[in-house]
Symmetry: D2
Subunit: 358 residues, 4 copies
């Protein structure tokens, strides 16, 4: 990629608070509303014929998710909130210095947000930075509105990109702290997790053909909330929306579930990772052959989870072309004929659980 923008500059990075919202393009707004509102119970802040603005129960900013009607399913923006209006300016200058496409919208790109900047970042992803946002009621105490699977916070994004080392370098320059990663014995990096707020991540990089959006994750308070979402999907005869899990992650130590929305966008439901706010928070590096790295219980990662992801759009709304991963792929080195995984390092008797293979 000779034309790739720089990934670092000496200019100060904007002070990013946290991942704040994702704008998803969906092909059937009613079907998406049924999924995110009727089934998952996200709270509608605003809706019109073109878009639905949703938030989680503990959120006080206007939205954590925008569903916008469009011809092809895609991701239009990964929205990050920054500490101040000046940090929006810093973001604008930072990405211009990198040579990226940058747009500014004083009235905001979406409702409820003003004075925002969108960029196509050096990896090709559409990032938005904003500070000014409408405050709405934090419904944390409104238990009369909670369902059994209530989503209380937006937790993180996950991005697919072929070169995790370069992507990590870019994010670390931007001020993210790496908390965990997956590597092999040759130093190949398969994935990395990167935080601004005090959790394991605000975003992650998953090695693969990209740029694509792997998933967006919402938190529940407890594990039983996640189990209930599965029970409800079963009751609605939509269990085929469950792609993977529920289970315990090795990475992040969180309890998880992966769903696919009506357009195939992947949504994770997530709870109980750990505090990472200290500057010397210990980095955890997992061996790609450790069969408990992605599921602590050794349950298999389904192939679709490795291979499928959502298109991302550039600032003109066009799909960003994919770059092929050239390094080994995690699925190839862990599943099937050429793969090798272990439950106990050095124990070659049993790899991952063969009973799970048809």
């Amino acid at each position: 990629m000779t034309d790739m923008p720089a990934i670092a500059t000496d200019l100060p990075a904007p002070d990013i608070l946290r991942c704040a919202y994702m704008e998803l393009v969906v092909t059937d707004l009613a079907a998406s509303r049924e999924f995110y509102v009727d089934i998952l119970g996200l709270v509608v802040t605003r809706e019109d014929d073109d878009a639905i603005y949703l938030r989680s129960f503990e959120e006080f900013i206007h939205h954590n998710l925008v569903l916008r009607k469009g011809p092809e399913a895609a991701v239009a923006a990964f929205g990050f909130r920054v500490r101040s209006p000046e940090d929006v300016d810093r973001a604008e200058a930072y990405y211009r210095a990198l040579g990226c496409e940058v747009r500014r919208a004083e009235e905001g790109f979406v409702r409820g947000i003003r004075h925002a900047v969108r960029v196509q970042d050096p990896l090709g992803f559409p990032y938005e930075f904003f500070y000014e946002v409408d405050h709405v009621q934090r419904l944390a105490w409104n238990y009369e509105l909670y369902g059994p699977g209530a989503l209380v916070r937006l937790d993180h994004f996950n991005q697919v990109y072929p070169d995790v080392v370069t992507g990590a370098e870019y994010l670390e320059h931007l001020g993210f702290k790496r908390t965990e990663d997956i590597q092999d014995e040759n130093g190949v990096v398969y994935a990395g997790w990167f935080a601004r707020k005090h959790t394991v991540h605000d975003t992650a990089l998953t090695g693969g053909d990209g740029p694509r959006m792997h998933h967006v994750a919402f938190s529940t308070h407890e594990k039983h909330n996640i189990l209930y979402i599965c029970d409800k999907l079963g009751a609605l005869r939509r269990s085929d929306s469950i792609e993977r899990g529920p289970g315990r992650h090795g990475v992040s130590n969180a309890f998880y579930l992966y769903l696919r929305d009506p357009d195939g966008h992947r949504v994770e439901i997530y709870t109980q990772d750990y505090y990472t706010g200290d500057p010397d928070n210990p980095l955890v590096t997992w061996d790609v052959h450790d069969n408990q790295r992605r599921d602590w219980w050794g349950n298999p990662v389904v192939p679709s989870w490795y291979t499928e992801a959502s298109t991302v759009l550039d600032l003109d709304g066009n799909p960003v072309p994919l770059i092929t991963r050239e390094e080994p792929r995690e699925m190839d080195v862990t599943i099937g004929a050429d793969g090798f995984s272990y439950t106990r390092k050095g124990d070659t008797d049993r790899g991952f659980k063969l009973g799970n293979q048809v």
Copy 2:
């Protein structure tokens, strides 16, 4: 099987209270002790060089599980408690009338139990009936001894037998109530669940080559207790003991987990089925093609769960020869090239979740 004993008699059946204990033959007593005591936290009532007697936290009879050292892994007895000493006599007469092999042990076949009768039942399984048993402390209130995954009750047995219709007829004559079953559109019965106490089952029949023991199940209070057992197995680098789950059953509506002990004996951890004590408790019949019947979330049943089970012993301690199932097998009609399953009946677009297949 021309020599098969009768499955019914006009004599009164013993009044069975509940499944009460299983006697497992294990090849390495120390390894089994580590699994059942150190990992699963069952309470040791008694142990010597040859056997360990274990109970659950809410039990007040001597044991729910006997681990006996032996040369080959097997099941020596499915123990049922009956209402009175007279019911032990009734059991003896009942099985003699059926033409079964019957043994009586006034001093008991195992420690803690007296005046017991063992039979090789018409299906070939070693059943024990007893009333007299040592009472031990019910540790229900001894929270200082509970671990995070505490097993509080023995819930049920599950037996593999080729002819579920005949097996069900036998159990129903013996006084069991059928609560649920799995059938296909041709009336083939793949499995059935049978209760004496007020839960979904004290034992179940799973269609397959048998007689074999499919699993023995213990209850926890809540679902998080089961999740913890998985977390602990991961921490001990024994996640390959997890064969299937955790998940929500369709049948029984319970939350479940299947483990394999060091000998391969299958143990289920189970919680929250429903009350079945009324005589007209509605029978629930599941379609074998319903992909949510065994896992409400549509997660795949691993092949080993269908095909592997424990040898059962006759009253002389010899393995009981297997009878081959002649009817269609559940695995064959639901997984893979010849299988067909649905999430939504009549919706032929998607069967079970293909993402799960390698």
Copy 3:
């Protein structure tokens, strides 16, 4: 009470399956509907201008609770289901032999039930016995309808009566098994718990002026369901409906919460007692001075819980006059100037938690 009917007869007792429903007279049907349906989430089987029929999520009979509009709050019936139509006849004969007022309604006393018998029992309580009942859908699998505090079963009744010894004798003749009781060092019995199904009780006797109805109890699956009910009542600014708890009972080992409905009828929410189905299930006797008997955590029992209860009606709908308890009262011997309670028997330094007294 010279005219008190006999409490025992040689006639066979009806085979009672379980407590099945309570008929409450309420003064404001809309207010009661808001409490039981909108807040607690019970399922409406049927409703008209005079009555609402409610059931829990795992129930398959027509109702577990009838709310009937009337001029004064009261209890019209404690409904028990029996094993067969013949057991209804047995109930009729049994109570006639005791000298009780007995009524039979072939069309049923309430909708959904037929061929029922109501009696004013020797203690003065209106008991109903029935077998024939409309089956309705068991909603156990209908998770799309569950709220976070879903009530899944009717668990038990609790009755206030002055002479617990006599009351217990009556119930034991009727076939109930005593599972737990509270006594003092002089053998005074303060309360007893009595079971037919395999739980700690289908009904209980609480010593006090009676006959009155102390509470009716519904089960949830897990403890967090009960905590949620409190959270929701707080969100609705109805926390003053919470009378006592949540907490862990000593007696029964269950997790509990006591609410008061708009008429003051007490409702318990309850989960996780233990199996009691064996005939030799060990009786647990608690010392009335043991401060953990009613709350395992030693939290105080509020006075209203001891003193307030609902009027019960005779078969003509008239309030049954109260008989005064002549033996010591539990509240008097455990709270305040004359009371003495201990956390550790023999440790006289600290009684119940004084910090709790204003």
Copy 4:
């Protein structure tokens, strides 16, 4: 207090990461060990004849709690971790500029920490600031060591001080963000909550005679973990260690339990407050008369919770004299003859739950 140091200076405040540890002086090290290690399950990092160093399961720094043997129960230090060694220098300069007593220990005041500064702050509390600390194994994944009530993080301190307005001003200058407070209609401030990390607080001020230490709080993952701690204390016949709760806070929306250790030091167990990391996080102000402010379920706050607290020591180890609160006291305005509380503002029929009063 004419000699009170200044509460603000123009010098830069140290960048405080989080509350990190408390040093408690205890009178019986073995009794304290039993409480914190055997009962609560904190992890021993190090112990000798004089002191025990404990940490929570997700911690990676040397300790969250130091128990030091001494003649009188007291608090020797509230330890805060800062972002860098330079921030320790900033703390030293900052407090010197305020006119406070300041000590520096290059070898640390306790084991595992170096280059630390201790001050007696303007309110009289012994604060410590440090960056350099031994890293120890983060046991987050070591589920084999977890008990059912595992404490996973130190969450916050709570300090008693007479003048909350002045105390808040001091903390806000020091860089803390106020997240919630309790006021009355006259603007009297009864308590305030102050955060550095992204939770509701790292420390709080409770109005009362002070300076004293009100409590130190540890987090669990879920609510059932807290309930288990109560169950275990009951099983150990130590339920009188439970002072208040469990319950749901209004303030913070967290689930809570208050215990008293063998010396009377108050320990809170706490879970599930909300994210507060944005600079414009909405301040929540509670009415002191709102009976759900401290317990969302309206359960009473016991008087001892308001009146008792731990002595704090100056840098020479002497008890800091108390200053009397001159403004109204929360207990006086909410409980008893002169108090008035409401469940529903404007509803004067019912105040707090009278059933709770003896």
